[in-house]
């Protein structure tokens, strides 16, 4: 069975876990927006402190963050290599034709810290609540019903598609298919596998749609789930909003 592990730490007990999801999303997204607005290096330490505090409050394990940073980290690593070699005029160090430039290094620092803080706050936001609650909250915040329904259906049927894929791969292996290198025959076989999966998925989608219509989808009103709000949830969202405003205000002030 496909294991997505999207909710592996969603049921811990921390202030961030207890923060009602709508207010958490609103507050932390405001903070993420503010972080993306920052251009002045003097604000980076404050960003790091806020991010670290949020992550410690969430009680999420460090391996969770490390695991999620892996793939985007490669992309950032590429930038970290290229930018110091290509951006700016002030040469810090030169070895033959290779020059390490100050402006490039500073750009890397800004990009890496902003990226790390934004991703970490995003993980805190969505890693401390079940995926389904997050989708419901987004719908309550104004995400169109059609998009939220599509997200939920995609999540639900990703497991079925994963199971189908594994079964088909097992069946192929049992009939001697051993992909060793990307030759024409292998690519054709994999292409057929993907094509079959797409066709089966499409046919299933048609059946699911019929099942939904038969139970009234598109004919009636859907009740929103009632999410319980406490005063602390609102206060925390206001605090996050004020913090976001402070970062943006500071950026304007330092840049005047």
């Amino acid at each position: 069975m496909l294991d997505l592990s999207v909710d592996e730490y969603a049921h811990l007990n921390s202030p961030l876990h207890r923060w009602e999801i709508r207010y958490k999303i609103a507050g932390l997204l405001a903070l993420i927006f503010a972080f993306s607005f920052v251009r002045d290096l003097r604000l980076l330490p404050a960003m790091l402190v806020v991010t670290l505090a949020l992550y410690l409050l969430s009680k999420l394990p460090w391996r969770y963050l490390a695991h999620r940073l892996e793939y985007p980290g490669f992309f950032i690593l590429m930038l970290a290599v290229i930018l110091p070699l290509t951006t700016g005029a002030t040469v810090l160090f030169q070895l033959g034709p290779i020059a390490i430039r100050a402006e490039g290094c500073l750009s890397v620092v800004l990009i890496v810290v902003r990226f790390g803080c934004i991703l970490t706050v995003g993980l805190v936001c969505f890693g401390t609540a079940p995926f389904l609650d997050a989708v419901r909250a987004l719908r309550a915040l104004g995400l169109p019903a059609l998009i939220s329904d599509m997200i939920l259906l995609a999540y639900r049927y990703l497991f079925e598609i994963g199971t189908d894929l594994m079964q088909m791969r097992t069946a192929m292996r049992l009939r001697g298919f051993r992909p060793r290198r990307p030759d024409t025959e292998t690519l054709n076989t994999i292409g057929s596998l993907v094509g079959s999966l797409l066709v089966r998925t499409y046919e299933r989608a048609e059946r699911v749609y019929k099942a939904m219509r038969l139970r009234g989808y598109g004919h009636g009103h859907t009740i929103r789930n009632e999410l319980r709000t406490r005063p602390g949830d609102v206060l925390a969202a206001i605090a996050a909003g004020l913090l976001a405003a402070a970062f943006i205000g500071a950026q304007f002030y330092l840049n005047r």
Partner: protein
């Protein structure tokens, strides 16, 4: 019997997919409220197509369909009829069992309290209350089947169609389903290749082949007729094979 006394009336019903030969030809059928009708026939004979027509998902090429005296319009939503699909994964599309069973009542515009009541009632009726918070992909085949039934029952239908309900069920789940259907009060229309299942649950059997209803009668009469069954690619269920005829290895 007039339309007001019938649960389902098919009048000269025909259907063909575009540019294909006719699947159903001039079907006439009447089912009374409370009847438990089994539908048998070889694969590809149009059983599922017939169900989708009855539910208004497909549009007939000719003829009419009446459900509890009211004409069934193509695309209409009629909560008094429910369809349990052959593959429960096709109708368990919500992230949790509770959400899935609540789906139909929510679309009926009911209050949250009424939706919750119906969900609990349906889960209890189908014996799936302890599965309420589970995601569907974590359920066994039998559990999925019962949850799919709960999702349909939550709309309180008066007529329920079951498409191959015992397929892929183990013996225990199959027996649980038989007991459940024997106790059901709705009008039932059940398609199945499991002829012993039909014998235990139904009080009337229709044999569909070549797009027509070729036999209609008591289960033991239809299923126990060797010539009839063989002529339509079927066999008598084992319990109806007289044991003076040697048929064991």
């Amino acid at each position: 019997m007039n339309d007001n006394q019938t649960a389902l009336t098919l009048a000269d019903l025909s259907f063909a997919y575009p540019s294909q030969h006719a699947i159903l030809r001039q079907l006439d059928l009447t089912i009374a409220p409370g009847e438990r009708v089994g539908l048998i026939g070889p694969n590809g004979t149009g059983k599922t197509t017939l169900f989708l027509l009855i539910c208004g998902v497909l549009k007939p090429t000719a003829g009419e369909i009446f459900l509890f005296g009211q004409p069934m319009r193509y695309g209409a939503f009629r909560p008094e009829i429910g369809l349990v699909f052959q593959n429960p994964d096709d109708q368990l599309f919500s992230p949790s069992v509770r959400d899935d069973v609540a789906f139909g009542p929510q679309n009926l515009g009911l209050s949250k309290a009424e939706v919750d009541t119906r969900v609990m009632e349906s889960l209890r009726t189908t014996g799936t209350l302890d599965l309420a918070e589970r995601p569907p992909h974590h359920l066994s085949g039998g559990e999925k089947r019962m949850v799919a039934i709960a999702g349909v029952l939550a709309m309180r239908p008066r007529f329920v169609i079951y498409d191959e309900p015992s397929s892929n069920l183990d013996i225990r789940a199959r027996r649980r389903l038989i007991r459940f259907l024997q106790a059901a009060t709705e009008t039932l229309l059940i398609a199945s290749h499991d002829l012993e299942f039909i014998l235990e649950v139904c009080d009337r059997v229709l044999l569909l082949d070549g797009g027509r209803i070729v036999a209609d009668g008591a289960p033991r009469d239809i299923l126990g007729d060797p010539a009839l069954m063989q002529a339509h690619g079927l066999e008598r269920p084992h319990s109806l094979v007289p044991h003076e005829i040697p048929h064991h290895r």
